[in-house]
């Protein structure tokens, strides 16, 4: 994260590819979490590591330009999403945070299970990414 000398070309090229792979894997972990190891926490941490890896290879300024995300905001949005799924079941007359699932036939893909636990997990995912990134970036920025 310290400004790295610009001639680290090998690192930058590799990291570009590696980061994409980590990103993709983190999304897989998030979506598959209900049935195999993974889930919001693990997916979130994985995504945060992918972003951190990018920061390692490039300087802060260019990454901030490429990913103009306010991570404090992500925490709030994630919390709202997780809370929202709970409130939806409450509106429908079930106890707070009751989750539903069903199986759907999709034309090409075949049978897919859709659950309301997924938006909840995505909420967790967002909070984790937001929290980890907010903490680390703030510490990094602090130079007084």
């Amino acid at each position: 994260m310290k400004p790295i000398r610009p001639n680290d070309m090998m690192l930058q090229v590799t990291i570009r590819i590696v980061a994409i792979i980590i990103f993709a894997f983190s999304f897989y972990l998030l979506l598959a979490g209900h049935n195999s190891p993974g889930g919001g926490f693990i997916g979130g941490l994985m995504t945060a590591s992918a972003i951190l890896v990018l920061y390692l290879a490039f300087d802060v300024k260019s990454i901030s330009k490429a990913l103009p995300i306010n991570f404090e905001m992500v925490i709030g949005l994630g919390l709202l999403l997780a809370l929202g799924t709970g409130i939806v079941s409450m509106i429908l007359g079930f106890p707070f945070l009751t989750q539903f699932f069903d199986y759907f036939q999709f034309p090409v893909y075949g049978e897919v299970e859709l659950t309301t636990a997924l938006p909840f997990d995505i909420g967790i995912y967002m909070v984790v990414v937001g929290a980890v990134m907010a903490i680390i970036l703030r510490i990094e920025e602090d130079d007084i």
């Binding site: 209900h34 926490f41 997780a82 989750q99 636990a117 907010a134 903490i135």
Partner: protein, 805 residues
């Protein structure tokens, strides 16, 4: 919710409006609005007189916490109605008086009237509730509002002192009363007073009866300022005079009397009750009367006189309770004692209320209450003087005023006790009438002192604070005048009260002593013939006058100049000692060292652990059912132990961080061995992120340095850390072994079986997180989010300049 509930809660509900009225209507004194509340309530309660006079009672229930037997039940019988009428009736007069007493331009009327209404509502609640817990809640509310009113002029040190003192003493009593109520509940199985009285059998035969009685009496005695708890009442005189007249003479201090009267059917059959209540009452009476004589402040004299009069009522209730001991309601003694108690309760409220108001007028007009500076006000304030004279004459027990009637009955009751030789201790009971008589002489004496020192003698305007002393405005005189009018009317025609108020109240104090449809015989008359009571009264007047005549002589004695009560010294010393003691304890304990606090916590945890393990023989170890150890697991464990043990010895920041991180990665590996893939992944990622974070924060962090600690500190530190380790090891082994032996299926079985069918997921851990225990997870991410926001704000927000952080 019945009309009765609404009436009880009205003062609370309307108290909310007072601040707005005060703020937006400046032109009209806020008191005028408040005046309507007690007035309407008084009229409302008057409508109940025919009901109770017919010997009927009224119960109105409202469920509050029914599962615990706590219901907001209101009960009206003669006793509670009498108090409700006193509270609202005197309340009306006091509010009227306060309109003239407190200046609307300078005083904080909003505070005053809000507290006043709080008190009024609380007091109504105390006398009307049938449920002991509800009674207790209202009881403490009267203590709180009383303290608030005493500290109304909160910028005066003495006000704060008096408020604290009354708070400590009455709340102490209130708490012990609560304990007493709990004991009663254990015995009777109900909190309802009427329920307890209806089924006394389990209470009377219980060994808990005596402790419960003493605890309840502590509450009553502290509230009613009985010896030796009377010390708070004189200090409560720092309150504005309307408050003193209302709370500290007419109503709140009578709450203790009310409680004793209410509890008489429960405890009355015990000799202890008779002796404690009667003895405490008489001791208070004589102590108060003698102390009153020594005071130089008008209100202080009246305060001690209130103490003394309360003692007198208390002793009468004690004497009357003997009716239960003998199970005999027709006996003249008990009837006389209870009639006298109820009658004097009313009389005291009338004349003492008027006298306090008169003292307030004198204070208001002259600026001082010191009898050494007052004098000769008879010609300047003729109306106040007349009112005071009648009130004082009534208090001294002179015919034909109402005080005379109740004092006669008091003597009658006290002499009867000796004749009946209650409990076979005749020699002792002789003391009672003698004490009563001596106390009455002192009562006469301080009445004379108040009147002659204030209104006769030489008028010395140079000693007073106000220039032009004149009679009080008419509005201020109305309230005491009404009360004095009552004094005279009751004195001349006492029997108007006999069957409207006194007899119903007696039925409340002595239920079951008389059959349904029957009535106690209440007949109050002036002339009993030349009997011993009349002689005692004549003796009181003679000796009292004699003492007043010779005052020049005995006022030089040191006795007269020692105004401070001995028990004040006890209280002050105890209070200071308590504060010093707690400061000392805090100082030795709160060292400001994190290390010491952690040591306390750990040491206590270890001791508790050892105790539990020994007490329940909980340490179990068994080699059965263990899982095998793979060879690489030995390696992992050894590495973990080695890296962890190394950390404290490292004096280099970056090395320490890396070694700690290494231990974290080992933990992640262990999770894979423990077949927890989710955990392993999480731990791995968290450890990565943590190390990145630590390294980033590295530039900001302080250095590690080698610690030089003395062995004195090092030894306990080692012992405690090893102790914690051993405790955890033993606890873990026992928990594991016992968990295997317990033989019941944990909730995990449920999760494993239903993950697929209920939540449609195969990863049980994730299903638990997002579905079964979703709320936990939600709270967890909330914590994480808060930690992040905390970090961001710590970094972003800086204290500027001189702010101390």
């Amino acid at each position: 919710m019945s009309a009765l509930h609404f009436a009880t809660l009205t003062p609370f509900l309307l108290a909310i409006l007072i601040p707005f009225l005060f703020k937006y209507i400046k032109r009209i004194h806020t008191g005028w609005f408040v005046l309507f509340i007690p007035l309407i309530l008084f009229i409302y309660f008057l409508t109940f007189i025919p009901v109770t006079a017919a010997g009927e009672t009224l119960m109105s229930s409202m469920a509050w916490v029914p599962s615990l037997g706590i219901n907001f039940d209101l009960y009206i019988d003669g006793l509670s109605l009498l108090f409700a009428l006193l509270i609202t009736g005197i309340g009306t007069l006091i509010i009227l008086y306060s309109v003239y007493y407190l200046d609307k331009r300078t005083e904080k009327l909003n505070n005053f009237y809000v507290y006043m209404l709080l008190f009024m509502g609380a007091m109504l609640g105390v006398v009307l509730s049938d449920n002991l817990i509800v009674l207790y809640v209202f009881w403490e509310m009267t203590s709180i509002s009383s303290s608030l009113l005493i500290s109304y002029w909160y910028y005066r040190d003495k006000s704060i002192y008096g408020a604290q003192k009354s708070m400590y003493i009455t709340v102490f009593g209130g708490l012990s009363m609560l304990a007493g109520f709990s004991l009663i509940y254990i015995m009777a199985g109900t909190f309802s007073i009427q329920g307890i009285v209806a089924n006394l059998e389990p209470v009377v035969n219980s060994p808990l009866l005596l402790p419960a009685m003493i605890l309840v009496l502590l509450g009553a005695f502290t509230k009613s300022a009985q010896f030796p708890f009377h010390i708070w009442l004189p200090d409560a005189m720092e309150a504005p005079t309307p408050v003193s007249a209302y709370l500290h003479s007419a109503t709140m201090v009578k709450a203790g009397i009310y409680l004793v009267a209410r509890m008489t059917p429960v405890f009355g059959g015990n000799a202890e009750w008779f002796w404690i209540v009667t003895a405490a009452g008489l001791t208070t009476m004589i102590w108060g009367a003698v102390s009153a004589v020594r005071q130089k402040d008008l209100k202080a004299i009246l305060a001690f006189s209130t103490v003394s009069q309360l003692g007198m009522i208390m002793s009468l209730l004690g004497a009357g309770s003997a009716a239960y001991y003998f199970g005999d309601g027709d006996n003249a003694l008990y009837v006389t004692a209870i009639i006298a108690a109820v009658f004097h309760l009313i009389n005291h409220a009338t004349f003492k209320g008027a006298l306090f108001m008169a003292a307030g007028i004198i204070d208001h007009e002259t600026g001082t209450r010191d009898i050494r500076n007052l004098g000769g006000l008879l010609t300047i304030m003729p109306i106040t003087a007349t009112l005071s004279f009648i009130g004082l004459a009534s208090m001294a027990g002179l015919p034909p005023l109402n005080g005379f009637l109740s004092k006669e009955m008091f003597f009658n009751a006290m002499t009867y006790i000796t004749e009946y030789g209650i409990f076979g201790i005749e020699t002792w009971t002789v003391i009672l009438p003698v004490v009563a008589w001596i106390a009455s002489i002192f009562t006469f004496l301080y009445c004379a002192i108040i009147f002659f020192r204030t209104f006769t003698g030489k008028f010395r305007p140079e000693k007073l604070e106000t220039r032009h002393v004149h009679e009080a405005p008419i509005g201020m005189l109305v309230s005491p005048a009404i009360l004095i009018l009552l004094v005279v009317v009751i004195g001349l025609f006492p029997n108007i009260l006999a069957y409207s108020l006194i007899e119903p109240a007696m039925r409340g104090i002595l239920p079951g002593m008389i059959g349904a449809g029957e009535f106690f015989e209440v007949d109050i008359y002036h002339w009993h013939g030349f009997n011993i009571e009349l002689m005692m009264t004549i003796g009181v007047v003679l000796f009292g006058s004699l003492l007043y005549m010779t005052m020049q002589k005995w006022s030089k004695l040191p006795f007269y100049h020692r105004e401070n009560d001995v028990f004040n010294t006890v209280y002050d010393t105890g209070y200071e000692g308590l504060i010093k003691g707690s400061q000392f304890l805090t100082r030795i304990q709160m060292t400001g060292r994190l290390r010491d606090y952690l040591m306390y916590i750990c040491a206590f945890a270890i001791l508790l652990f050892i105790y539990t393990m020994l007490r329940f023989d909980a340490f179990v170890i068994s080699t059965e059912n263990l899982s095998g150890i793979d060879p690489y697991m030995w390696g992992l464990m050894l590495l973990l132990v080695a890296s962890v043990i190394a950390v404290p010895f490292i004096n280099n920041r970056i090395t320490a961080i890396i070694v700690t991180g290494f231990a974290g990665f080992l933990v992640a590996l262990m999770f894979t061995v423990f077949r927890a893939p989710d955990l392993a992944l999480t731990q791995l990622l968290i450890e990565t992120v943590s190390v990145i974070m630590l390294v980033l924060a590295f530039k900001h962090l302080p250095k590690l340095w080698k610690e030089k600690t003395r062995p004195m500190i090092k030894a306990p530190r080692l012992i405690i850390s090893i102790g914690v380790g051993v405790m955890v090891t033993l606890g873990s082994i026992s928990a594991f072994t016992l968990g295997g032996q317990a033989g019941y299926t944990g909730i995990s079985e449920f999760f494993t079986e239903n993950a697929k069918s209920l939540a449609g997921g195969y990863n049980i851990v994730n299903v638990i997180l997002v579905d079964f225990r979703g709320l936990d997870t939600l709270m967890e991410v909330l914590v994480l989010g808060l930690a992040a926001i905390g970090v961001v704000s710590m970094i972003k927000l800086r204290f500027k300049g001189s702010e101390d952080v």
